[in-house]
Symmetry: C2
Subunit: 275 residues, 2 copies
Amino acid sequence: MPLIAISDPDDPRIAAYHAVRERDVVGRGERFVAEGEVVLRLLVGDASRHAIESALIAETRVEALAAELARVPPETPVYVAGQTVMDAIVGFQIHRGVLAIGRRAPALNSVSLLARLPQTAVVVALVGVSNHDNVGGVFRNAAAFGADAVLLDGSSCDPLYRKAIRVSVGASLVMPFTRGGSGEALVDALDAAGFETLALSPAGDRTLETVTPAARAALLLGAEGPGLPAALMARTRTVSIAMAPGFDSLNVATTSGIALYAVTRGKAPKFRTRR
Amino acid sequence: MPLIAISDPDDPRIAAYHAVRERDVVGRGERFVAEGEVVLRLLVGDASRHAIESALIAETRVEALAAELARVPPETPVYVAGQTVMDAIVGFQIHRGVLAIGRRAPALNSVSLLARLPQTAVVVALVGVSNHDNVGGVFRNAAAFGADAVLLDGSSCDPLYRKAIRVSVGASLVMPFTRGGSGEALVDALDAAGFETLALSPAGDRTLETVTPAARAALLLGAEGPGLPAALMARTRTVSIAMAPGFDSLNVATTSGIALYAVTRGKAPKFRTRR
């Protein structure tokens, strides 16, 4: 964990931090951008599924981050710069002066991930949820309620986009997830693994508080607006959250929190932490 | 509801729309900025607590908004402009080409508002919640679950800031609210009106699912991070949401949704709509 002082914004050693932008939503292949103290702590912690490749820290933050920096592997560089240089490097005011580049763990496969979950398990499945805030919020809730995994179809956004990681408060770095394929393929995999899929929709057949979830339960959520495709609703158990007339919509991340609360009620503290 | 074509971005008639900015967070006294079709529909609908002063609509949207525009009072101007002119007026890409200026209803007083609520009522009280997304999210949830009112202390953000209205999907235009004073004064008013205040906190004494709410129940929420002041926790019934070890935090808007679900469970559809 060598601390390397950077005084030139154009120093080639910190090239990975160039072009990190407030609206940075472009995939970076094997790499992702993490920001903020809490996210750094999770990235270098025992529960992290991914590796840290380097960090870029404002010099005023180094002392307060001693515990986190001590967990950075010996061969991984930690660049230190003054705030002005940092701002010049990344082109915007960095979230509390803490940035890191991570390297993704190999992608998981939904069939094998589901197969190795315990017999009592809760997963969240997202179809067409492309908003970063919402995906980040779903991961935050999934971690808070001890869900076992999050499955995303290919049209949902990458949980390792910078903003999704930030909104998840780092949960997307520790929560096992898969991403890809169609919503149909997702429900196929859940069926094959013996999960009962509960499709959350304002048009659901029964209300959430009447549902007794199966030992293996999946909460299926679609995007706000279009909602879940009719074909997926037709083959799953559909569940609504009772709402006041005239205001029959909730944010999708909020919906995930309410549904996770309902299906894990009283059980969350017994759930294991992430590996 | 005269349609007035605008071709000059500097036309003095649309001066109120200048300087509406993406990060527009400055109070506008008696006025507020509303945007988007759903928000406009609520602003001109029966449930609105506030008045529309004018609207600015992209010419491509006029036809689709016929029903909403028919509800704009006869003396209220509706300005119509091409997208280029609209963008030049407000300085950013307008949310789907629909903007309106509203005029606030006279501020409510928390003591008199609480006094006139029904004997079975649920309110949400916010202390120090200054984030616009969170305040908007709380209003959206309060409306969805048929809460009767939202009370905000003076350090919480104005629910009629543009972004808060947008995130609330217009709920902050129809939900009765008060804002001002200290958290102590808020709890005083709730006590005096016979409300039992449930303070949501990760450090709460009992878990949410064990709580049977009183007929008049208030859900008290603080900002993420600092949470609720100890003095308020000491004088209220504190409630936690059981979470997995190591991830003991939820977004404040999500928390409001889960708590509203728990205390109104099965009752929301019977709640009246807003007047």
